[in-house]
């Protein structure tokens, strides 16, 4: 028996109208976000229960219009038209309309109506509108539009039941509302063009073909039906212009005139505009000097906070992993399997999991900034700077999001309409310090520049500087790209400033939860796989090292009470030398030594070079690899707790000639390398997906690695002068 398809409900609306909040309120925990956490660019799906029925809910990207000029808008149009092969055509489209900005929001709704689907208006932010002195006669408006309207407050969950019953009613007896009519001359041209494509193409797309100069309809139908159709389209446009229509203005004029007629007598405006909180806050927060200072302070506080606040959580995870390691090690006999489990799997995963708190905190902060409306102000403030880099303020959001993870950052670059700006933003986004670099940063900073030795402000300052490298280099490189490979005229920059509001706890928690889960998933699959490969490369060929070390250790334990401290230390040193010998002749050691001349100018020994190479799948692997290479057997009973942590092991690590492997210049050189390199398979895969060619991910990897090498070289050489 064939399964009966659930009815499908699609959510559309302008950006910043509370669409995501409504989606969350309707779908609850029962939702599947796209592959990556981050800004709403992917289509989100969920289930909605009304009485005993289950409906599929799709959250379409927030758009101002369904005149497809960006990939987001094309996705929305395709889903509503039923052109998207993976989605059924929605049975009802719920259009979320911001009551405090009614006319502009209704513009999008008129386009949805034109697509010929039943529409329900969810009139959101009725409370905000009321506080602005705006009175809307909902019943009358609903009658005039011929569309059910349900007033809601998505953030408080008000009106959701009414919305659900409205959906149920429309599903029972679907009806499409009225929509504005285009002039006869225009419709005549549309009919002529449709004769060329045949009736399978929706009329809506043909209208878009005529209206949107350089839009998606032109590209898609042009590719499908050839130059003949494009010639006819040009001729049609020509005739319309001669008849006195301006293509750019015709649609807006018709729609707004219609909206004006439909809303007549339904809206009562205050005589004087009420000065709102948003007005007052904007006076300060978007102020050139004051606002910029506040912006910098916010950014600095963000990074101090994740370093300090996340610390106790990380401590607990470290303790837990250490306990598991010990328990497993004591329950198993020595041998390759125990080594794989303890030194490969547990320690490898543990070294990654420990950084979950920082990632969760960072994503939570970004979610708060975005949800409260501050992010757009930051973009406004940054536009001047971005304009100098040949980018626009909208590039700021992808770049800032890349500080959490380049993957959602690169995906959120879809909000940039200009393809060159978008590509430039995608290519430089991985330069921004992402959360996967945090493990490397905090490991080395805590180990080599600790508060106890250098003062309370040094770790924060080093962190800040590492982030600053990306913040300065990304726009600089974008400028270079925009004036060479991606030359073209500067695009127009229009961006809406949403009203300030309290961030929704659900949205914030959801985003940080998704980020944490995503990170764990990566730790669990790809990262773990590369960890085990690295462990194997370090373990084999194993010769008789394992048994020699075991014997030496047992002998030492047996005699420990009889020996003086000096001989214990001598024996321990011997054991450590055995380990180091083992590693030196292992597979990894052989490759590492082979590349040592290349990394020597950076101040690295072969082990650091090898760990850097091994972290190609993902930067956080570096930590795990260092753990495997350096974290073994520095087992001084008296200082065990201290040496538990990898940082301690790194400080203890010695070269064969007795010099320390790490010094402050070496640590800084590694830090700078990791700030600049592109050791992240996920980023490269996403760039491939977003640009649709391998050319750009390869380009990104090559230029970033070159930049990282030069940066690390300069850091080490200059660092050694002090």
């Amino acid at each position: 028996m064939m399964a009966v398809r659930n009815p499908t409900i699609a959510l559309v609306g302008n950006p910043n109208t509370g669409k995501t909040t409504l989606f969350n309120a309707l779908a609850g925990m029962n939702q599947r976000v796209g592959n990556y956490p981050g800004v709403t660019v992917e289509t989100k799906k969920g289930k909605l229960h009304i009485a005993d029925r289950t409906l599929d809910l799709i959250d379409l990207p927030g758009t101002y219009s369904l005149a497809p000029r960006s990939p987001d808008e094309m996705v929305a149009v395709d889903v509503i038209l039923g052109n998207n092969p993976s989605e059924p055509r929605p049975d009802v489209v719920v259009t979320i309309v911001d009551a405090s900005n009614l006319e502009r929001n209704l513009y999008l709704m008129t386009q949805v109506l034109e697509l010929g689907v039943p529409v329900i208006i969810a009139l959101n932010m009725v409370d905000v509108a009321r506080s602005q002195g705006l009175k809307i006669d909902v019943d009358r408006l609903s009658q005039q539009l011929g569309v059910p309207i349900v007033p809601i407050q998505a953030n408080r969950g008000v009106g959701l039941d009414a919305l659900k019953s409205a959906i149920a009613r429309v599903l029972e007896s679907p009806a499409c509302g009225r929509c504005p009519a285009f002039p006869d001359a225009f419709e005549h041209e549309v009919a002529t063009l449709q004769a060329c494509t045949g009736p399978t193409e929706p009329v809506y797309l043909i209208r878009r073909l005529v209206l949107d100069v350089g839009g998606y309809a032109e590209k898609r139908l042009g590719a499908k039906y050839g130059a003949d159709l494009i010639d006819k389209m040009h001729a049609a446009r020509q005739r319309l212009v001669q008849a006195g229509f301006t293509l750019a203005g015709i649609e807006a004029r018709i729609r707004y005139a219609w909206i004006r007629k439909m809303t007549a007598g339904c809206i009562e405006r205050p005589v004087e505009r009420v000065v709102s909180w948003t007005d007052r806050l904007d006076k300060v927060l978007t102020h050139r000097i004051l606002g910029t200072l506040i912006f910098l302070a916010v950014m600095f506080l963000v990074f101090e906070t994740i370093f300090v606040v996340a610390d106790p959580f990380m401590g607990w995870i470290k303790l837990g992993v250490g306990w598991i390691e010990e328990t497993v090690a004591s329950a198993m006999a020595a041998g390759p399997l125990r080594s794989l489990l303890v030194e490969g799997v547990i320690r490898g995963v543990g070294a990654v999991v420990v950084f979950i708190p920082q990632i969760v905190f960072l994503f939570a902060i970004i979610a708060v900034l975005e949800d409260c409306g501050y992010m757009a102000r930051a973009a406004f403030l940054m536009d001047r700077l971005m304009a100098r880099a040949g980018l626009n303020g909208k590039s700021f959001i992808p770049l800032l999001s890349s500080m959490a993870c380049a993957v959602p950052g690169i995906m959120s670059a879809r909000v940039i309409e200009n393809p060159r700006d978008r590509l430039a933003t995608i290519l430089v986004a991985p330069l921004m310090s992402c959360s996967a670099r945090l493990p490397v940063y905090s490991l080395l900073v805590a180990a080599f520049l600790p508060i106890e030795e250098y003062g309370w402000f040094v770790p924060g300052l080093v962190f800040f500087s590492l982030y600053l490298i990306g913040i300065i280099l990304a726009p600089a490189l974008a400028f270079v790209l925009k004036s060479t490979l991606l030359r073209g005229e500067t695009p127009v920059f229009v961006m809406e400033m949403p009203l300030y509001k309290m961030p929704s706890a659900y949205t914030v928690l959801r985003r940080s939860f998704d980020a944490g889960r995503m990170f764990l998933k990566r730790a669990g699959t790809m990262i773990l796989a590369s960890m085990i490969l690295v462990w194997a490369a370090l373990y084999f060929p194993s010769g008789d090292f394992a048994s020699r070390i075991e014997t030496a250790t047992q002998r030492l334990e047996g005699q420990r009470d009889e020996l003086d401290e000096e001989s214990i230390a001598a024996q321990e040193k011997k054991i450590n030398e055995l380990r180091s010998e083992w590693k030196a002749q292992s597979l990894l050691g052989q490759v590492g030594k082979w590349i040592e001349p290349a990394v020597e100018p950076l101040g690295w020994d072969w082990r650091i070079g090898m760990a850097a190479l091994a972290s190609f799948p993902a930067r956080e692997v570096m930590v795990g690899t260092l753990g495997i290479i350096f974290g073994e057997g520095e087992g001084d009973a008296g200082e065990e707790e201290y040496r538990r942590t990898l940082g301690g092991a790194l400080r203890e690590a010695r070269r064969p000639d007795g010099r320390a492997v790490f010094s402050v210049p070496v640590a800084l050189s590694v830090l700078v390398f990791f700030a600049l390199c592109c050791q992240c398979v996920s980023t490269l895969v996403v760039i491939k997906r977003e640009t649709n060619t391998w050319r750009w991910p390869i380009f990104t990897f090559v230029y970033m690695t070159a930049l990282a090498y030069v940066g690390a070289f300069l850091t080490y050489q200059i660092g050694c002068l002090f």
Binding site: N101, Y107, A248, F380, D383, A387, F493, V494, E496
Partner: protein, 78 residues
């Protein structure tokens, strides 16, 4: 007599005006219209300079100077 037309960019902060003409690439004229910047809409400059911050109806937009030059407005006394 009606006040002279002038580019939006030259409005002072706090000044009100009616949009009289929007020129430029058709795609962007449409985009602006979708966002509410079209002939006849009343705007106020919240913050001058480039980019400037505009109040249009009940929404706030930020717009760059070079583009604000292409929007001609007629200042209104308020």
């Amino acid at each position: 007599m009606l006040p002279e037309l002038m580019p939006l960019e030259y409005l002072h902060a706090g000044q009100w005006a009616d949009v009289a003409e929007v020129s430029g690439e058709p795609g962007w004229v449409s985009r602006l219209a979708e966002m509410g910047v079209r002939i006849g809409s009343r705007v106020r400059v919240v913050q001058g300079g480039s980019p400037c911050l505009l109040q249009i109806g009940d929404s706030r937009l930020s717009l760059r100077g070079d583009w604000a030059m292409q929007i001609l407005v007629r200042p209104v006394a308020c």
